[in-house]
Every structure is written in C-alpha cells, then in structure tokens.
C-alpha cells in the first residue's frame, strides 16, 4: 500500500514536471451570485415526466432508470434560485412518492459553482436546496420528511472551469433514506 502511494506520488510528481501547457486561464467573468447580463446557458436535457406513469408506492421505482423517480437533479440558471417549469413534473413525481411513503425522508443537497468564497457559495447552494424543499412541500412532501442542506462548491459534478461545467454544478440533488 505504502509503495503504491509512493508510486502514485512519483507519477504525479512526474506529471507535474512534464511539459504540459498550463491549464487555460479561467474566464474570470463574474461570480455566479450577481452579475447583470450574464450569459444564459442551457441546462442539461430533462425527461418530461407524466406523474400518472408510475406507481408512487413502489420503492423499487427509485432505482428504476425507466421511472421518473430515478432522476434526482434539478438544474438552476445562472444567478437564480427559481425552480424552472421544466422540473415541475419531476418534482411532482417526487412529491407524490413522499406522500405515498410517509416514512421516507429526503435530503436535498444544494450546490454552487466554484467561483468566489467557499462559505458564500455554501449559502448560495442552500438557497437552491431551500427552493427545491419549498416546491416539494407544495407537491405532497411533509416538512418533517425534508431537509435542505448545502455542499456549496465542495462537491462539483464537473470540475472544469467552463460555463458548461458551472451550469452542471448549479444543482440541487435529492437523496432518499438509505442514500445519505
């Protein structure tokens, strides 16, 4: 194990000493939080969900890729904490599931992109998680089933410094009992 670590360290050292060009400078334009006139980026495609297509009492549906319940991420626009209309169907399915399974709990983890202060980004992620939580309480979830927390910029889904990548990190994830 120790030898392995040394080896990988050596490899990393070698890599660091290689002739790779430095990573391109990040476009420093703006912080996620506030910037008027920011570029709008399309969020990843989402399957449109029809709530009648699934059985909300079937827990196995959570892991079934054909079930809307297997979709757990809500993406947000730049500088925004508003749950977009395209996610209402998905949230409706999860709201129904929560109502049909009152013992199930959900942890909603909000995320932010990497730019700026870690603690401030933690607060931004919290606003996204809170928006998802509020939407779910209107769609069948109970207060005591839901907890909104933030991972800030600490757990990015994508770690490149690009607008496409940052869009994937402006996200709320829904985790059920047993998954957190």
């Amino acid at each position: 194990m120790r030898a392995l670590i040394s080896l990988s360290l050596a490899a990393l050292l070698l890599a660091a000493c290689g002739s790779q060009p430095p990573a391109p400078e990040q476009d420093p334009a703006g912080v996620e939080s506030r910037k008027p006139g920011a570029v709008r980026v399309d969020t990843p495609p989402v399957t449109q969900v029809r709530p009648e297509q699934f059985d909300p009492s079937n827990i196995a549906a959570l892991k079934d890729p054909k079930s809307p319940l297997s979709k757990r991420s809500i993406y947000f626009d730049y500088d925004s904490y508003v749950v977009k209309d395209e996610f209402q169907g998905l949230l409706g399915a999860h709201g129904k599931f929560l109502a049909a399974n009152p013992k199930m709990k959900m942890l909603i983890q909000g995320n932010a992109d990497e730019r700026g202060s870690r603690e401030y980004n933690l607060a931004l992620g919290q606003k996204r998680a809170e928006a998802v939580r509020k939407a779910l309480t209107l769609l069948g979830g109970r207060e005591d089933q839901l907890e909104a927390v933030s991972l800030g910029e600490e757990k990015p889904a994508c770690s490149e410094s690009s607008e496409e990548c940052w869009a994937r990190n402006r996200r709320g994830d829904m985790l059920y009992s047993g998954e957190f």
Partner: protein, 422 residues
C-alpha cells in the same frame, strides 16, 4: 550565476518535498525595501547537537522579508566580543552569537547574545534550557527574540498554521509550524473539510466537516484529538468564528430558512440568533475587542461586508466599492480589515484601513480566498491558485513581502494562522 542558484533551490525544494511525502515548502517571492543587515554566527557547540540550530534562525529571519542575512565569517560564542571591524566591513548592523552546552541529563542550554555592531552595545542575552527534540522550537524562539528586539513587534516564528490538503478522494486538516515543518494531520476524511478557526488560546480548532453528507461544525481539541459537535441543526451549519474570550462561537445556521448568523457556546449549548435579514448572512468574524461582528451579506443586492454590534443593535455597511466583497478578517490591532474583492473579474486580497476606509489591493492573482492575519498583523496568509493547483501564499500588510507555500501533487486551501504562543 543567479540562474544556477535558482535552479539549485528548485531541485532541493522538490527533493525535500518528495522525501517528506507532502511537506509544505515555503518560497520567498518578494522582500521588503529596506532590509536590516544581520549576521547570525554559528553558535559554539552547535555541531554537537544533531540538527542545525542557527540555520533555522536564519531561515526564519530571511523568510520575514525584513532582514538581509550577512555571513558572520565564523562561529561566535555568546561570551566572546564580536569582531566589530570585520562585521562592519561585511555590512552587518547587528550580530547574534551563542553557545550550546549539553548537561549531564542530556538537556541542552543555549545562550544567545544579540549585539548592535554600530553602537557596540548588547541588545539582549536570552538563555534557553531544552531537550534535543525542542531544538527547532528553541531556534524559533531565538528568532522571535531577535525579531522583537529589532522591529519592536512580537515575532510569529513559534506559531502554527492550520490548512486543508486535498488529494484524490481525501481531505486532511493539517497543523504545521509557521515555516511548514512538523506537519501533522488533525483529521483525515473522504468528505470536504472547510473553514478551520483557531481558538484564541491555540488549543482547539473549530471547523466544518461534510462527513455527515451535510456541513456540521465541530470543535477539535488538538492535544487529545477529541472533538465534539458545536452546531448540527437541521439544514447547514458553517462558518465558525471564536469570540475573543474563546467561550462562544458565531456560526451560520439555516434552521430557520436561509443562511443566518447565530452564536452558540463553545460546547454547542445556548444557541441564539444575532442578526436577521431576508437574504444571506455569512462569514461572521469578531473584531479583536469583541465589540463588533463583521460578516458578509447580500441584503443590499450584492455580497458586501457589514458589521453589527455584538451586544445587538444597528448593522452598518462597511464595503461600498465594487459588486463582490466577502470574507472579512480583522487585523489583530483592530485597525484594518482584510477581505476578498472582485476586481475586473479577478478575486483578489484587499486591505481596508477602517478609519479612513482607504482600500489597497495586495495581490495580482485571480483566485484569492480565505485570508488570515499573522498574530502580529504583519503578514496575511491566504489561499490562491497557481497553474490550476491550490497553494497558500502570504503577503505583508504593505504588499511588499511575498511568500508561497505549496505541497507537491496536492491542493492546499483554507489556511488559518494560529495565535501567539506565550
């Protein structure tokens, strides 16, 4: 010639770093304008101890950026009269000599004499009784003594720093001496660790750990390695800051909605809210005198720094220039505030004189974060990025002296400079 020396320093740094796995190495990248020429002679008897003593003293003084080291020309005992004419010819204004004697029980007695070469006057003669294991610590104390005698401010060479090292899938909260030596891990985790904060007495660290799949504030006793939860309410718990008396922590909780400021006792009891806004309030920091709590808030539409009386009362805005000013950190004398400002899309360390509100940007980097004052207020340690990798850097409050602290093959971030050791 110059190039050669640079190259040598680079290879030595690399070799040291890989031998010690991940030792933090300090590199001086800028120095003060008028450096005082000092000669630190080899101490007599120093060669009998296993490690070098005076080389650590010299490295400390050199790193501060305030001194120019002059070759003393040979060993000098504390009891000997310094060769004034020779030292003057070498350009030294001050000289330190000393002796290391070993007692029967194996302990060492190190005696030092600091002398003003121009006035031929003794500036001080401290003595230290220490074990072999305390040799480096003794060297730092000697450097502190010399620094204080010559600058009038306390030295910070005996202090410690905390920081987080991220390698693949692993986060470690580390403690090291201010020169990067004696690195130890206080906590290792697969989940992120952020926002370490030293208790005023230097015995504990408060920090945020994500090991419970959400941010929770812990208080960690460094001597025992034991820790307890200081804040774990529904929602997120973050941004711990110690009160000057070490009894309370200001924290950010979301139990009542968005991120808001609260105070808890250090044992986690007695939570109470200290400010209310409809938006985000975070990054609280007590002023040194305890009167105000500074924090970041977006209540005015963009993140700016505000302050509120810690006894309750009015909240006033502190920063007005620019659309993004965050992470307030007060200087130990309470007269200035370091913070991060967005300047033409670059995140840079800035310093504001609180009386005049005059602000100076201290760096030319683009991703500065998490400033932390040295306990004498002279240097500010912060996190930044070089070549896509997280490093620590330090800059003097006048912007002249600059250092870079890095670990090979890992990201270093979230620095916190510990208090003075008395």
């Amino acid at each position: 010639m110059k190039f050669q020396r640079l190259f040598l320093a680079c290879t030595v740094g690399l070799a040291l770093a890989s031998a010690a796995r991940a030792q933090l190495t300090v590199e001086i990248t800028g120095a003060g304008a008028n450096r005082l020429p000092v000669a630190i002679a080899e101490f007599t008897g120093e060669r009998t101890v296993a490690q070098a003593l005076t080389s650590v003293v010299r490295a400390d003084l050199e790193r501060s950026g305030l001194f120019r080291l002059v070759d003393a020309g040979g060993p000098l005992a504390d009891s000997a009269t310094p060769p004034y004419a020779d030292l003057k010819a070498r350009g030294a204004d001050v000289v330190a000599g000393g002796s290391v004697a070993t007692a029967a029980d194996g302990r060492h007695e190190t005696r030092v004499r600091l002398t003003d070469v121009q006035k031929q006057a003794v500036l001080g003669t401290p003595a230290y009784l220490h074990s072999g294991a305390q040799l480096r610590a003794t060297a730092h104390r000697i450097a502190d003594f010399i620094y204080e005698k010559l600058t009038g401010e306390p030295g910070v060479f005996s202090t410690r720093i905390a920081y987080v090292v991220k390698s693949t899938g692993r986060y470690e909260l580390k403690i090291a001496d201010a020169d990067g030596a004696n690195e130890q891990a206080a906590l290792a985790s697969r989940e992120p660790i952020i926002s370490p904060a030293w208790s005023p007495d230097g015995t504990k660290l408060a920090y945020v750990s994500f090991e419970a799949k959400k941010p929770v504030v812990y208080v960690h006793d460094l001597a025992s390695g034991r820790r307890h939860v200081a804040a774990n309410f529904k929602g997120s718990n973050s941004a711990p800051a110690w009160s000057p008396d070490g009894r309370q922590l200001a924290v950010v909780l979301t139990k009542d909605g968005t991120s808001q400021l609260y105070v808890v006792n250090a044992d986690g009891s007695g939570v109470r809210r200290i400010a209310t806004s409809s938006g985000i309030d975070t990054e609280p920091r007590w002023a040194t005198d305890g009167q105000y709590i500074y924090f970041t808030s977006d209540r005015g539409g963009s993140p700016q720094i505000y302050r509120t009386a810690s006894s309750g009362g009015n909240t006033e805005r502190v920063t007005f220039e620019g659309g993004y000013n965050v992470t307030p950190r007060l200087s130990p004398d309470g007269k200035s505030m370091a913070f991060i400002t967005r300047n033409n899309g670059r995140f840079q360390l800035a310093l504001m004189d609180l009386a005049s509100k005059q602000t100076q940007i201290l760096t030319d980097s683009t991703k500065d974060e998490s400033p932390s004052f040295a306990p004498n207020g002279r240097m500010i340690l912060y996190a930044t990025e070089i070549g896509g990798r997280g490093v620590l850097a330090a800059v003097s409050s006048d912007g002249r002296v600059k250092q870079k602290l890095s670990v090979q093959a890992a990201d270093v971030r979230e620095p916190a400079w510990g208090p003075l050791v008395r």
